[in-house]
């Protein structure tokens, strides 16, 4: 069973809102860097960066973070997925880093992402922006910017489709 939770327009509106929340909280775009978590988070981060450029005229740097090597929940029997090289071509020291991910679930990916970021330097702050928060946290982690909170059952799946990968924007809830 599939149910669409968000369509293209709704995703667009959410990203606009998150962008303004980021700018509001940080009092502008100075000293901000976006880091997208592979794969979905990267494109979301790029879109947010574009929106910041449109409103503030500032180009915020966008980094790519693959957290595979930092995960503690990789199912050992599963074949590891394609790993993308991490690419953070700027210093994160004393910066306000906004981590961007598509779905916040157990919190383990974010934990891994923070560990990975710490290996690159010492940011002033790390903030978290997510498109969907589906609950079931296993670690004490909350997002600073949440697109939509969607209560789910643990057995259900959230699938995020993005134009850059799938040719369309959509968030779908799948239940067995």
């Amino acid at each position: 069973m599939e149910k669409e939770l968000l369509n293209e327009q709704e995703i667009e509106r959410i990203l606009t809102r998150i962008t303004s929340e980021i700018l509001e909280k940080n009092k502008g775009a100075e000293n901000i860097c976006l880091v997208g978590i592979v794969t979905g988070g990267v494109y979301l981060a790029q879109r947010i960066a574009k929106k910041i450029k449109e409103t503030e005229g500032i180009e915020v740097p966008v980094g790519v973070l693959d957290i595979s090597f930092y995960r503690d929940d990789v199912s050992l029997s599963n074949k590891p997925r394609d790993i993308k090289p991490t690419n953070i071509p700027f210093s994160i020291d004393k910066k306000r880093i906004v981590l961007v991910d598509d779905v916040l679930f157990t919190g383990r990916s974010v934990r891994a992402a923070m560990d990975a970021l710490m290996d690159f330097g010492r940011p002033e702050q790390i903030q978290l922006a997510v498109l969907i928060d589906r609950g079931h946290r296993e670690l004490p982690i909350t997002a600073n910017y949440t697109g939509k909170y969607i209560p789910t059952a643990k057995t259900e799946k959230i699938k995020v489709y993005l134009k850059e990968i799938n040719g369309k924007d959509s968030v779908v809830l799948m239940s067995q």
Binding site: F69, R71, V74, P85
Partner: protein, 300 residues
């Protein structure tokens, strides 16, 4: 996959997955903190029955950068011959509860033997004249990094093909891509029944002509004593890659050597210093490639 015994057992897709993963690890190696916590709490043992500082160091570094606990177990072959069988040694090590065994042994098939008798993941770091898979993978990674592709390349492997596990693993790997493979060397160093997809050259300059990649093999100095070649001097004269030969090498070719080199036997100093030589790059890439292999052999 539990083990990496040889390239011959790998599919092209598996090779590409390893090379792709190695790219991600290469990025890790360029950070200030060159270590990731991936395999924290797991243990690797480097079981070396043949001395090899380079390969062992490379594996050790790769393991440490994956946060593995590392044990080194170097066994002089003579001590083994006297008493303990390989099976006994293996069972002792298994009792340490290790997760990864990296093995170097002078007998072809030794890595397979170990893998058949243990639950740990086994990585072949060279077995006899059979295979040295991580060397071929790091060579492929280096070629890919510079050339952007492996398909369509002409690769000349020069030297003692017959006794070289590096040559064999490279041959198997390159055979899984659309490549032209050449074996170059004196007849006593070439297989009497070469595979169909290989071109054999006895003259160095014919063999390296138009080649995109030239892999020079290390000549084991004891080969001369066992009569395979009359002298190292003669070998150098005819099959060593020297300054005079460089003008016959394509401008965009890359020159490779698995190390350690014998200057004045298979290569001259001018060749080592030539901008086309990427010997040191191979060393760096070796760590990233080995990290990728270990990472991908996670146990289920």
């Amino acid at each position: 996959m539990k083990d990496l015994i040889g390239i011959k057992e790998l599919s092209r897709a598996q090779i590409e997955e390893i090379l792709n993963t190695a790219k991600a690890f290469k990025e890790v190696l360029q950070r200030d903190i060159k270590k990731v916590p991936t395999l924290r709490g797991k243990t690797a043992i480097n079981l070396f029955f043949e001395p090899s500082t380079r390969t062992r160091t490379s594996f050790e570094l790769a393991e440490k950068r994956l946060s593995l606990d590392v044990l080194n177990f170097s066994v002089p072959t003579s001590a083994v011959v006297k008493g303990e069988t390989l099976y006994d040694t293996l069972k002792t090590i298994e009792a340490y509860n290790v997760d990864y065994i990296v093995i170097r042994h002078s007998s072809s098939g030794a890595a397979k033997f170990i893998a058949d008798h243990t639950e740990a993941s086994v990585i072949n770091a060279g077995d006899g004249i059979n295979e040295h898979p991580t060397q071929a993978l790091l060579d492929a990674f280096s070629i890919l990094e510079i050339k952007g592709r492996i398909d369509g390349l002409k690769i000349a492997i020069v030297g003692d093909i017959l006794h070289s596990r590096v040559a064999r693993s490279n041959y198997y790997l390159l055979s899984k891509f659309d490549t032209e493979i050449r074996f170059v060397g004196p007849p006593t160093f070439l297989p009497s029944h070469p595979p169909e997809n290989v071109k054999v050259y006895y003259r160095l300059r014919d063999g390296i002509k138009d080649a995109d990649v030239i892999i020079m093999l290390r000549i084991q100095l004891e080969r001369q004593k066992s009569g395979f070649i009359p002298s190292l001097k003669e070998y150098y004269h005819f099959w060593g890659l020297k300054k005079e030969d460089l003008s016959f090498v394509r401008d965009d070719a890359i020159l490779m050597h698995p190390g350690p080199m014998n200057r004045g036997v298979e290569v001259s100093t001018e060749v080592v210093n030539d901008p086309r030589a990427i010997i040191l790059k191979q060393v760096t890439n070796g760590i990233a490639t080995r990290m990728a292999v270990i990472y991908l052999l996670r146990r289920s």
